[in-house]
Symmetry: C2
Subunit: 327 residues, 2 copies
């Protein structure tokens, strides 16, 4: 157990960063076409191939990769690079399975805003994202770095350094739920005036430092703590991908995505703000049976997705701070 | 200040209960047509006139009342009674403003499932809901009872008694946000093994008992505490109505509804489950200007809506327990 989304069998993650542009890309790659769903919760999202995941569509069960990127809408090009890598492997949805007709890789993607983080964005006509996407795809494996890495490389979580986080859980009956989050939130991940993450109740084995709220914590509805003060539209966003191995229907996976929103809400405050582009993807490898009565099994997976996501968010910021040597 | 949704100027609330059927109705009545938005977050909702509130529709700015009811889909008839009361006052949307042509009262409504709570549901062809809706409307005023009252009268919040809760906040610059919740959740409102509500960080002045989490709280991802064990579909639901006086656009109000979801997520675990019919209405009386830069003003109202809703949910259960003499 790595406490990473790659604990879900068949899931690889690759990341790439551009230190000069202070930006990066994370790609989540299942080893076979996955079922996918998405929940767009923020007011300023930037997405690609999200419509393919809606009910009634053709290929929501053929997701080849999920791509998360910095770069605002420029970062949507990262999926081009991921598609190129998949094409080189002959992967994709083969609508017309004939020699000479390439299969179409299905790569839903979402971006976060890191254009104003001080990096050099003077990239002329060619943004680095297609290159970073390919690089991330080629690097995909079971291990990857948390904190200032991948899509969260140039991110800021409120006034704290943002980052990429991940976490996983394995149930007693062998189901695995993993989450990866790139945290660039408008809101703060910490309780105001406290070292405790909002996600503290969900922490396992001190994975994000073990800070607990002060006994005398008093709520001020107008105090957002270390949230961003007054961002312009799209300067924020928390991107997430959750992976499960349980076999569920598309409709059930959509419900799990909706329940996973709770994990974001419990880890960040404010959340889903007008300037957040919050997006949650959920993919299922469908490699294991989910037991129990159906609605209860889905409620269980949805709640596990929520808590695992809350943990991944806190870990992303915690690891960035730790590696920067912040207290 | 009553710490009720009726602290929002022009908002009245009426409630009615049927002790034999162990069910009830709550109605929220603005004194002039309000702007309305809705967010349906649960897997098993029961609603009426929710589509009228969507973007691009004709009368989302003419909401005459919001009706919350027990009774599962039978409870949607409560809006009939509310409409009758409004018609008697000549209120409604006048598409054809001619003598003899009644205006159409716009009453978005949602229900919760309390059919299996032991009450006598042998009501033949005529469910009590239209009568209860009218009775609630006629009783509307600035004061109303919390706990086992109104739509939450026959409710259960996980394994705890459900109920109707409310809370409000007034900002330093004079904006008011109020919330009313009928809590019949699948999930628990308390941290497992703890007297503390999940919503404890948002409590103001001990309004729901002041319990705080134990310092040694350890998370078990599979422990839902006092959640319901294995409900059938639609046996649950948290219904909410949030009222604001700030003048916002319909699009902005929809964003506030989405942000308010976070309040439900922070107060109940699991939430948005397949068997929950969670619905949040938000109405604006548009009586005050919301100052500040636009996205920030909306983020602020959305976060105030979230925390006020979390408090209203906890108060509903707390008041039911207190009035039942539970510790």
């Amino acid at each position: 157990m790595r406490n990473l989304i790659t604990d879900v069998e068949g899931i690889s993650v690759g990341q790439a960063e551009d230190a000069g542009s202070v930006t990066g890309v994370s790609v989540i790659v299942p080893d076979c076409p996955a079922l996918g769903a998405v929940c767009v919760a923020g007011g300023g999202p930037g997405t690609r191939e999200s419509d393919v995941l809606a009910a009634g569509r053709l290929v929501f069960d053929s997701v080849d990769a999920i791509c998360l990127s910095g770069g605002s809408a420029f970062g949507l090009a990262a999926a081009d690079g991921v598609m190129a890598g998949l094409k080189a492997q002959g992967r994709g949805f083969a609508l017309v399975p004939r020699p000479g007709v390439p299969a179409t890789p299905i790569v839903p993607a979402a971006i976060l805003y890191d254009l104003a983080n001080g990096g050099n964005k003077d990239w002329g006509d060619t943004a680095p994202y297609a290159r970073l996407g390919r690089q991330a795809f080629d690097a995909a494996g079971e291990s990857f770095v948390l904190g200032p890495a991948g899509a969260g490389y140039g991110a800021a979580a409120g006034l704290a350094p943002g980052g990429t986080g991940s976490a996983s859980i394995v149930t007693h009956d062998g189901l695995t739920v993993g989450a990866l989050a790139a945290v660039n939130s408008f809101g703060s991940v910490r309780m105001p005036g406290s070292a405790a993450f909002w996600a503290w109740p969900f922490e396992i084995s001190g994975e994000f430092g073990g800070a607990r709220p002060e006994p005398g914590f008093a709520f001020d509805p107008e105090d957002w703590g270390a949230a961003k003060a007054d961002p312009s539209p799209r300067e924020n966003t928390t991107l997430a991908c959750i992976a499960i191995d349980a076999a569920v229907t598309h409709d059930e996976l959509q419900r799990i995505a909706q329940m996973a929103l709770a994990g974001m809400a419990r880890a960040i405050r404010p959340v889903f703000a007008p300037t957040d582009g919050d997006v949650i993807f959920v993919i299922s490898t469908r490699k294991r049976e989910a037991g129990g009565s159906r609605p209860l099994a889905i409620a269980r997976l949805g709640e596990l997705a929520a808590s695992t996501l809350a943990r991944a968010i806190a870990r992303g910021v915690y690891e960035s701070e730790r590696q920067e040597g912040r207290p």
